[in-house]
Symmetry: C2
Subunit: 169 residues, 2 copies
């Protein structure tokens, strides 16, 4: 455990609103489709792909060692980035609004089954923090010149590492 | 069981190519990210959103009674539609290329854990056939005038129902 730590909160749309969207079925569906057998929760994320186009990729990540020690934040200034878990395993999300070109206060969330997130363009966020081995995510982000990172990736090394604490369930 | 039946095949990129894309990690990743901890399989689907924009919705479907009896096919002439399962449960996909404004020969596939599909614009497909109760999918499709269906939905009732057979594992 490092000197600095933050504790992950449950992921809710309200708490996440300053950073982007929670992509999850919430409340009543917007419409029923397929003869009433399927709920559609419609258009759940504010997407942007300035100067590029939308694409779907897959990220498959090692499980992160716990407790997770955060050293680096990143952001994509000209495109949103959505993470859609392709399993029911939880994962960690750490975000911050911008404070004069660097991350402001860090906020950690524990995303549960069926919860995706969309980072608004410019939202500082930790790299993908998977908790399961080979955990797969579909990622909807801006396809640019090369692997999405042409002019669309900024990184910031934290002045001191921060431990992300997951409360006992 | 109806008089007509088709048998679901395993879902592979090669078999699905006439209809769209399989969105899954396949072979070597296109790049390693996050300090070598995460594989990125890059830009896996041919997306189109003619006259609209990209959006992310969630479909949450009842489990379909088995054996599945298919009576209706549909297509979206001016937009691709990607289904990204948010659980590790399998689901059924039935597709057809177009034959003079109606579905040609039907092809059924059983999609496994970690496999999404993207229907190319104009590909005839069955409604979402979930096999698990309340099975959640993220859907990346064209947001148009209203709930994506303004001028972007055609349906075709099959002249006789077709049973989709899932082979024993």
């Amino acid at each position: 455990m490092t000197a600095a730590s933050i504790t992950a909160a449950p992921l809710t749309a309200e708490a996440f609103r300053p950073f982007g969207d929670v992509i999850a079925p919430d409340g009543a569906p917007d419409m029923m489709i397929n003869g009433g057998r399927c709920e559609r929760f419609h258009d759940l994320a504010q997407l942007s792909f300035e100067g590029g186009r939308a694409g779907i990729s897959i990220f498959r990540s090692d499980a992160s060692p716990l407790p997770y020690v955060l050293e680096l934040m990143e952001r994509h200034p000209v495109g949103s980035q959505a993470f859609l878990p392709m399993s029911a395993s939880p994962y960690l999300v750490v975000v911050a609004t911008d404070d004069a070109g660097k991350p402001g206060a860090l906020h950690a969330f524990l995303a549960g089954p069926g919860q995706g997130v969309n980072y608004r363009a410019g939202t500082w966020h930790a790299p993908l923090i998977a908790l399961e081995a080979a955990q797969p995510f579909a990622v909807v982000d801006r396809i640019g010149d090369r692997f999405s990172d042409g002019g669309n990736l900024e990184e910031f090394s934290l002045p001191e590492p921060v431990t992300v604490v997951i409360p006992a369930a």
